[in-house]
């Protein structure tokens, strides 16, 4: 029996393939392996954040603060680097992940302990985090010449033919695939989103699972914060402004149900890749990058309409002949 989830992913993968073929038919260079690797590298932050967002959405929440978290953590590690240029990069990365996780935990606690709707919580923390960046940086930029070469070098460093940034995404995908399929936490996430009432009866703490989902999302935002700031070698208040919407868009396009409980790692990754391919293809086919926003908006609408149609509940089948027909 064919399952619904892979079908959805196959269609999305097919859409990406069609897109690539269309672009390649006029600009073969776009599908050259080196260029595809570039596209993947460029999409890596979106992939990482989409996976974090996926976990949150699966538990029936939403995290609109990821981009602000990314910017705040990025600014914090950039300033730490300026103040202590000698601090080894692994320590910086650990700080970024911990700080991001802590910011996520703030969201999580408010949702878990005070039962405030997630959209309200993360709308609030989103503006607060941005404000705090201004407070700690005094509105100034941290520029590339102030950062240490090691700090800015890591994401570009090539290992086995791919930059570290790409590897970060690949490792995250791999870890998530295991976490979602093979760990207690991963299965609990589906349970909490699919049927919170039943989850309680099976001994799963709904609020606590949501809390950890926010921590995971926050930690990944923190990691991306470092990668982002070091890759572009600049940190300021507005970096990644509005990026949270692109992250949610990737999830929605990837078939993750905003009502919770339905979605997959493959879907989130493909959703992010779809947006990444579109974004990188636009300049190649000579369409103004200003089209990007409208295209991703349309993609969200089409994806959500399509997924809703596929997942629509059919009525009860009572008639004998109807049972035979279907």
């Amino acid at each position: 029996m064919m399952r619904l989830v892979p079908v959805r992913e196959t269609i999305l993968a097919g859409a990406i393939l069609v897109l690539l073929i269309l672009v390649a038919s006029r600009f073969p260079g776009f599908v050259a392996p080196s260029n595809l690797a570039n596209v993947f590298n460029d999409t890596a932050p979106l992939i990482i954040l989409a996976l974090g967002q996926m976990v949150v959405i699966l538990t029936r929440c939403i995290d609109l603060s990821v981009a602000a978290n990314l910017a705040l953590t990025g600014m914090a590690v950039a300033m730490i680097n300026v103040a202590m240029p000698g601090l080894p990069i692994p320590v910086i990365i650990a700080i970024a992940i911990l700080l991001g996780g802590a910011l996520g935990a703030i969201n999580g606690v408010l949702v878990w302990k005070l039962a405030i709707p997630p959209i309200v919580v993360t709308l609030g923390t989103m503006t607060i985090f941005r404000g705090i960046i201004f407070l700690i940086s005094d509105g100034k930029w941290v520029n590339s010449h102030e950062m240490s070469p090691a700090f800015t070098g890591v994401p570009r460093m090539v290992l086995l033919g791919l930059p570290v940034l790409s590897w970060a995404a690949i490792v995250t995908i791999f870890l998530f695939a295991i976490m979602m399929a093979r760990t207690q936490f991963g299965r609990s996430i589906f349970a909490v989103g699919g049927n919170p009432h039943a989850a309680v009866y099976t001994g799963i703490d709904v609020g606590k699972t949501q809390f950890w989902a926010f921590v995971v999302s926050g930690a990944l935002a923190g990691l991306t914060g470092y990668l982002w700031v070091s890759r572009f070698a600049v940190a300021y208040v507005d970096i990644a402004g509005g990026f949270e919407l692109e992250v949610v868009a990737a999830c929605v396009i990837g078939g993750i149900s905003i009502a919770g409980g339905i979605g997959s790692v493959g879907g989130a990754v493909l959703g992010a890749l779809f947006l990444g391919v579109v974004k990188n293809a636009l300049p190649v086919v000579n369409i103004s990058p200003f089209w990007q926003l409208a295209i991703s908006g349309s993609a969200i609408l089409i994806a959500v309409a399509f997924n809703a149609r596929a997942g629509r509940k059919k009525g009860r089948i009572i008639l004998k002949e109807a049972e035979g027909a279907k």
Partner: protein, 337 residues
Amino acid sequence: MTDAPQPATQARHVPDRLNSSAARLFKSWEALLLAVAISIFMINSFASPYFLNAWNLSDATFNFTEKAMIAFAMALLIISGEIDLSVASIIALASTAMGLALQYGAGTPELVMVGLTVGLLCGAFNGFFVTVLGLPSIVVTIGTMSLFRGISFIILGDDAFRGYPSSFSWFGQGYIYWVFTVEMLLFVIIAIIYGVLLHKTNFGRAVYAIGNNPTAALFSGIRVQRVKFILFLLTGLMSGVAAVCLTSRLGSTRPSIAMGMELEVVTMVVLGGVNILGGSGTIPGVVIAAFVMGLVTFGLGLLNVPGIVMSIFIGLLLIGVIALPRLWAMVAARRKA
């Protein structure tokens, strides 16, 4: 069909007891909010000598009048259990459309018509996806949020439309009398219209019923989808009105106009005591919330606090007003136990 027959048994009489309703209104959230507004007003007037100046206060109202116009419609939408995150993008698209109309030589009345019509159409577009296709409004409007503003970007790119006629500037820059602006008048009129609509009409009652239990509302013969569609239309229309005011005030259109305003509108609605999950809330609450936000922003501005830092206060306010009563209840419960 039949006339009321007499029951066989002597039934008990259940008292009506609605006299408390007016009192209840001011015993609760709105009263708390009003107290907050008054204390902010007092603090501000002590903190800065420039605060208690009629012209400064009049200027300060621009901080909230445009957002509040949308917030009133948004309040109804949120009470019905839906949300529209695309309102700021509707402003961008409506404003861009007005700019385009200007290029084709439209005068002030045409510009206003264009702005309102585009707002209405955008609302209809959202409403179609939510009520006809049955999709969740939060996803739909995140999508249209990108789409509407995206269209503005396609049309304008890095450019801007300028050169609106001087008569057009009346909406965002004009005064009715002394320090009272045109926008203030609009704010009052719209507040009254929505207050009456929500609290005094059958339509408003349907909005509450839908927000509390959409299935039971449907089973009670309410045309749930039609009501929701109208609410999206109204929110779109109000965004169009705000687009006219904002464009008129700024005198130009850029695709980044009103960026992020949807968050402030939602904050205003939630701060006003509207349950983000639907079912409850009042227009007077939103009116007071508008003043609170306006006063906070103005006061901090006088103290030379930059805008981005003010947003910290807005964010804290949003979370705090919901968190504090819950914390309070938790502490009270623990003390009892």
